[in-house]
């Protein structure tokens, strides 16, 4: 795995064999109750959210849902979220803040849905409002990029106190295919684009753009469990003002210091 090229990692990150949102929920949490809908228009199935117990801590869990079989993928729109999905996520985060629950997000999306209805319903507005809300949310949050973390559609769940990536996950401004078609005018040069984009967990950790890499393999869930427990305990001890200020500084500091 150490020698996988960037593009091999992109393909690995997209693999249907990787755990999906319900695998993480089943393995890491107890008593999950799923909540639906944005209270404005509809329930977007590409986002799953609800409440559960993590050890003895009540938490809010939100994540992208890609599906594994073709039927599932169509039903969940391949994990491409519409404004209603981002608004559902935001509604659940507002609720988490009110009841002092930490928010844990699982990110795996090819990007926000580029469709007519999504645009008509304010895709930009929905993403922007999520960024703004998460940035000032008065409760701890941890984001885990489990597969494909692509574009604003991924970031809309990732303005968090801690941002982690699985060893073979990727996180990027756009899919390598989209990037190649814009910059090289040729979507087939995705492999080349993947190298230039520096989208692997290892690259991004080096840049300081993510906080930790979670090793994959048999002990992945165990590692994730102990990391979550340790960091949640740490974050929950902070007072709310200090927590929000630290988050402000975390994103404020992102610049070109590391080049």
């Amino acid at each position: 795995m150490q020698t996988a090229s960037s593009y091999e990692k992109v393909l690995l990150a997209r693999s249907k064999d990787r755990p999906g949102i319900y695998d993480y929920i089943r393995t890491l949490f107890d008593g999950f109750i799923e909540f639906h809908g944005d209270r404005l228009y509809r329930d977007d199935p590409s986002i799953v959210g609800g409440i559960a117990m993590f050890h003895d801590i009540p938490v809010t869990v939100i994540g992208h849902h890609k599906g594994k079989t073709t039927e599932e993928q169509i039903a969940y729109n391949f994990g491409m979220t519409s404004p209603e999905g981002y608004r559902k996520a935001r509604r659940l985060m507002v609720q988490a803040e009110k009841f002092g629950r930490p928010v844990i997000t699982f990110i795996d999306t090819p990007g926000a849905y580029p469709g007519m209805e999504a645009e008509s319903n304010g895709q930009s507005n929905a993403i922007a409002e999520n960024l703004a809300f998460m940035s000032a949310m008065q409760t701890p949050s941890i984001a885990i990029i489990t597969g494909e973390g692509s574009s604003g559609g991924a970031l809309a769940l990732a303005v968090s106190d801690r941002v982690w990536m699985l060893e073979n996950a990727v996180y990027s401004i756009l899919s390598p295919e989209g990037f190649a078609s814009i910059l090289y005018k040729d979507a087939k040069r995705a492999s080349e684009a993947s190298d230039a984009m520096k989208l692997t967990a290892q690259d991004l950790k080096q840049f300081g753009l993510i906080d930790a890499i979670i090793p994959e393999g048999k002990k992945m869930f165990l590692a994730l469990d102990s990391m979550l427990l340790r960091e949640l305990n740490r974050l929950m001890k902070m007072n709310k003002t200090a927590l929000v200020e630290a988050r402000y500084q975390k994103f404020r500091e992102i610049d070109h210091m590391n080049d």
């Binding site: 926000a112 580029p114 469709g115 007519m116 999504a118 645009e119 008509s120 319903n121 304010g122 895709q123 930009s124 507005n125 993403i127 922007a128 409002e129 960024l131 703004a132 809300f133 940035s135 000032a136 574009s151 604003g152 970031l155 990732a158 303005v159 996180y171 990027s172 401004i173 756009l174 989209g178 990037f179 814009i182 910059l183 230039a196 984009m197 520096k198 989208l199 991004l204 840049f207 753009l209 988050r247 402000y248 994103f251 404020r252 992102i254 610049d255 070109h256 590391n258 080049d259």
Partner: protein, 279 residues
């Protein structure tokens, strides 16, 4: 009717001859829409609106500031923030230099303070001529610095956007500017600051999906393309052509996404009126 035609033709001819005497040295630029040719000074005087077909052309950031602010009241801030190349991206340095030469700007964002009808404001303008007004680390950093300045000095914040979205050549660093600018704007607003976001053609992608959509008040120029995914991307996804006017300012107004549409030449007065109601 024939006589009328002759008279109006003559009038246009006389006008062109007068302009030639006055501006013979200036460059001539044709309107990309109706192909009529005008001297650069005419474009500037008419706020880059075509005198014959009234199409809106992109406005250089420096000129936008001049149209909006009281004469000679603008003072540039944060000019020292310059672009770097965090990914060491092939050809990026060269591209930056070309755009710097073309626009006379260091990067796509001009920030500063000035006055509108004697009321002090923090103002920023994205210049669409510089790498499509895309937002990389320098643009993001300047927006945040300007927002923090407005917060510290208790000033209203006005930003004019024109952008193709996040800057590809800076990869995830650019995506993070969405989080960074949204974070700064949110804190500014929570502290009571007034943010007026002005959307011009085009405001798309990572810019429209971050700070630009977070205005307390969102104004837009007529006909401006405002969207997350651009028309070409959507057409590829759904495999059909989009209806006329889709994702234009008028469409967004109808769908409840912006507060109002303001003609370019009315922007200064509208901003001034809004500011008067936020003392």
């Amino acid at each position: 009717m024939l006589l009328n035609d002759i008279f109006s033709q003559r009038k246009i001819m006389w006008n062109r001859m007068a302009q030639k005497r006055k501006r013979g040295q200036e460059k001539i630029k044709a309107c990309p829409k109706c192909k009529m040719e005008y001297y650069s000074g005419e474009w500037k005087e008419n706020q880059y609106i075509c005198p014959s077909c009234h199409a809106y052309m992109p406005v250089p950031a420096k000129e936008r500031v001049a149209y909006i602010l009281d004469e000679n009241s603008f003072k540039e801030l944060f000019a020292q923030i310059i672009t770097k190349d965090p990914l060491d991206f092939d050809g990026y340095e060269e591209k930056l230099q070309l755009n710097q030469r073309k626009t006379g700007m260091q990067d796509a964002f001009l920030a500063g303070v000035g006055k509108i009808e004697n009321r002090k404001v923090a103002i920023g303008v994205l210049d669409g001529r510089f790498l499509m007004g895309s937002m990389g680390t320098a643009v993001g950093e300047k927006i945040v610095c300007l927002t923090e300045y407005a917060k510290k000095k208790n000033l209203p914040l006005i930003i004019f956007s024109a952008s193709g979205g996040a800057r590809m050549q800076e990869g995830l660093f650019s995506l993070m500017q969405m989080a960074k600018t949204a974070t700064a704007i949110e804190q500014f607003k929570q502290k009571g600051g007034l943010f007026i976001s002005c959307l011009t053609n085009p405001t798309t992608g990572g810019v429209s999906a971050s700070y630009a959509s977070l205005g307390d008040i969102i104004l837009a120029e007529p006909g401006a393309l405002i969207c997350f995914a651009g028309p070409r991307v959507i057409e590829q996804t759904i495999g059909q052509t989009l209806p006329e006017g889709f994702q234009r300012a008028e469409f967004l107004l109808e769908h409840g996404m912006i507060d109002c549409i303001v003609e370019r030449k009315d922007f200064r007065d509208t901003l001034s009126s809004i500011l008067q109601m936020h003392l």
